[in-house]
């Protein structure tokens, strides 16, 4: 269904309209002024038509409005405070509940390559975009045999609601109690904030860390092109002589 984030568009359109109105007194009567006025009228008519289309949406629109709340949420900013664990070392095992309350262990994934996605908080701007991105890329991950696991300090109930609203279908694990215990094991917990860095780990089928990355600025979503290249590099069979 076609989507028009009502609040954002309305706010921007209103602001532009106000600026347009303020200009009116500075423009002397002329054909140009008439033409500008006509153009503005056309914009208004188009806007009305869009609003008519918009009003046809029901529950789906409400859900999308909730999913898009991050557009207006307070910004999250800050420099990275930690460094990732060394590549080539054993990934610490852990057991955490997913949104359905199932206990998930990293060791359950032995034999598969795992992408661990530590992110600060459900519902926040950068995290909403980052996890949307990974859901969009799920076929690419699957094609490469990658299992994606998201981890944050949010509760299983927050994970359940957030993933339902966003359409996220890979597991989100709750590092809730003791808070951030797994993030601490992976050296990505931000003590001053009470949540994790935005960090990625690629763990190979033997449980070895092959790639660790922490965003230098917490609102920066890691570059997907670099990530996919890194995965391809890791999956490339090592040539022996």
């Amino acid at each position: 269904m076609k989507e028009y984030p009502k609040e954002k568009k309305t706010g921007r359109l209103q602001e532009l309209q106000e600026r347009f109105q303020r200009l009116e007194k500075d423009i002397t009567d002329s054909e140009t002024k008439t033409a500008l006025s006509l153009l503005n009228g056309m914009v208004q008519e188009l806007w009305k038509q869009i609003k008519k289309t918009d009003s046809k949406s029901g529950d789906d629109h409400s859900l999308r409005s909730i999913a898009n709340m991050y557009h207006h949420a307070p910004r999250m900013e800050g420099k990275a405070l930690n460094l990732p664990l060394d590549e080539g070392t054993q990934a610490p095992d852990f057991e955490l509940p997913d949104a359905e309350g199932n206990m998930i262990r990293l060791s359950d994934y032995k034999g598969s390559t795992v992408l661990l996605v530590f992110y600060p908080l459900d519902w926040s701007p950068g995290c909403s975009q980052q996890l949307d991105l990974y859901q969009h890329e799920m076929k690419e991950f699957e094609k490469r045999g990658i299992k994606v696991l998201g981890i944050s300090v949010d509760s299983i109930y927050s994970h359940g609601a957030w993933s339902a609203v966003r359409g996220i279908r890979f597991p989100l694990l709750s590092d809730f109690n003791p808070k951030g215990e797994v993030a601490k094991k992976y050296n990505v917990f931000r003590d001053i904030d009470g949540f994790s860095e935005r960090a990625l780990y690629i763990i190979d089928d033997n449980g070895i860390i092959r790639y660790g990355y922490i965003s230098l600025l917490i609102h920066h979503v890691p570059d997907i092109y670099i990530l996919l290249n890194k995965i391809d590099e890791i999956r490339k069979p090592v040539e022996t002589y």
Binding site: K2, K8, G126, Q129, Q130, D132, L133, V221, D223, Y225
Partner: protein, 105 residues
């Protein structure tokens, strides 16, 4: 960048599809939505010019001109039509309207 004069579904040359060379994405490498938009265009085999605002700060003024003063990313310009922080649905609808994609996907 050069528009591939081919049917996106069949990949075959299709003279009925108009020539386009005017899809521009203003974004940054760390913006999640910019990445989603670029990957969508990659997957649908639509050629586009990508302008990284961090690497091309001079492009910010041209971005503001087409958006009425906003330097939001991603902004996508399709045949002069400006989409500021579009959803994938908005992007797709505009691409269909411009003949870049078929509507019955």
């Amino acid at each position: 960048m050069v528009w591939q004069n081919s049917n996106p579904k069949t990949g075959r040359s299709d003279p009925s599809i108009p020539q386009h060379s005017n899809v521009i994405v203003y974004g940054t490498s760390w913006c999640g939505m910019s990445q989603i938009v670029r990957r969508y265009l990659d997957r649908t085999h639509i050629d586009y010019e990508y302008i990284d605002l961090d690497n091309n700060p001079g492009a910010i003024s041209s971005l503001k001109w087409v958006t009425g003063g906003y330097a939001r990313h991603p902004t996508v310009v399709i045949d002069g039509q400006v989409l500021i922080e579009p959803t994938i649905d908005e992007l797709e609808n505009t691409l269909i309207g411009g003949g870049y994609l078929e509507g019955d996907k």
